[in-house]
Subunit: 292 residues, 2 copies
């Protein structure tokens, strides 16, 4: 079985954490130990976000004028190295061999997202300190960057080659480095869930797993009448989405990415938490979305 | 033919350069365009140093107290992402597919190098600003870190797998991330030439190429009686080294790393410049060291 698992930000860096190397390594170890079974029984790609890390790195870039500041695509590449190393270190403890692959993702430079940046990244500021900053939900000014649609995972062939040889592959970190078809980097941040869904389709994964901070997808989440979805179809998931059951920027992109995978020919997608992932993979927990 | 090419710092970042993303990408493009032929005709691993980049990143880490500073092993991982991305972008222009692999290198935590750090990294300071700084050749204080002997390239199996599938592999960046056998990171910087030589042995490379800023190895370099070595044996190279012909920290580690590869069973090592690399690979330029 070929499985793609998207590790949520929370799985790799607890919300209260400052983001030290020790905290990140500890979180990676806690995540990997839980999925050791599936890593050993299946071909697995692990993907991950980079929100807090790229934000910290951006702040450090701006901390000194002695050294040139790197653009966002390069910072994304750097966080792939950083976070990939923590995950690879954790995988090593299982005795399995991993391969952490720098991953670029082709986007369309004419994507309307470039004219309407929506993705807030990095720290909050009292005033805008550089171009492209916007007030974020009254909490302060943040850099807001474009989040274009991922069109092709450039390294999908290397990922498949490594899976076939038995490596646990760590890839598509931070949603991948956005590039034009010509290979030129773009200053943007791709949504990690969308890029992961695209990869799962490109490498013909049997199962796509989104690990998040809640155990399942819910209808009327947080309301007195909330109810857990254990299994649903693409058709029903779309209907729920239209009815506004899923929070934007939180559960909605995961459900949307799951649907997108299934519409590309994928068989099954699961949304679950780090705590119930093994049961979810065995259809005993979490939310399963499938074409049937 | 399986070839491992170690790109020197100069090949990827001209000495006068500040290290902007544009400068680094441009240098990578200039390097890759010269070796397009060998990339297309052979299985090639490209390795590279990270001296200026890790120094810059270290300075940025210290530029703000708002964000936790990462240890040296993590900074190494980040520069693998950064520089690997520039090289991968350049390889894309040839139409070839590359795979940039995070690479860890096992060292012995009891290596005497840890008790006697010798490798200066990062910027110069007027005064020591953190523990472990030493005066470097009268030019200022620099952080001096351990440079232990590389014992095993952890990802050599993934590198071989990718070469067999036809990818140009970018690996062992900055000499690799130093780890203990147990997988735990170590604050050190491994010599890139030694780590590259070790890799070449582990993956049974036919040819190991060190690209540096001079066209060949010379006897009495810089003196009126300097003479170019076109071909030599391990035995003669050792004799020249004992006679003090090669500068420490410059040509000597390259000659030593070439000898080490040949003593591990390697067939041929070449030391040349970016300008003559194609002729050097065809034994028409540079310095060839072999067992015969």
């Amino acid at each position: 079985m070929r499985v793609v698992i998207a590790l949520g930000g929370n799985a790799l860096l607890p919300k209260q954490a400052k983001g030290t190397a020790e905290e990140q390594l500890e979180a990676a170890k806690n995540a990997i130990i839980r999925i050791e079974g599936v890593l050993k029984s299946s071909q697995v790609v692990l993907t991950h976000g980079n929100g807090p890390q790229v934000g910290n790195l951006l702040l450090q870039q701006q901390g000194t004028s002695e050294v040139p500041e790197m653009p966002l695509d390069v910072l994304g590449a750097m966080t792939q190295g950083e976070i990939g190393y923590f995950i690879a270190s954790a995988v090593s403890l299982t005795g399995l061999h991993s391969a952490t692959l720098l991953t670029r993702v082709v986007v369309n430079p004419e994507d309307p997202a470039f004219r309407n940046p929506t993705k807030p990244i990095g720290p909050f500021y009292e005033k805008p300190v550089r171009e492209g900053m916007k007030m974020d939900a009254g909490r302060g000014y943040r850099l807001v960057v474009a989040s274009p649609e991922p069109l092709k995972i450039r390294e999908h062939d290397a990922i498949s080659a490594l899976l076939e040889k038995g490596f646990v592959v760590i890839a598509v970190g931070g949603g991948g480095i956005p590039i034009k078809g010509s290979g030129e980097g773009m200053e943007a941040v791709i949504d990690k869930d969308r890029a992961t869904s695209l990869l799962a389709g490109q490498i013909n994964a049997d199962l796509l797993v989104f690990v998040t901070s809640v155990d399942s997808v819910y209808l009327n989440f947080g309301k007195p009448n909330q109810s857990r979805i254990s299994k649903t179809s693409v058709k029903m998931a779309k209907k729920y989405m239209e009815e506004g059951h899923f929070a934007e920027g939180s559960m909605q992109p995961k459900v949307q990415a799951a649907i997108s995978f299934l519409e590309q020919g994928g068989k099954k997608a699961t949304i679950c938490s780090m705590e119930n992932i093994n049961d979810a993979i065995n259809e005993k927990a979490g939310t399963i979305i499938s074409n049937v």
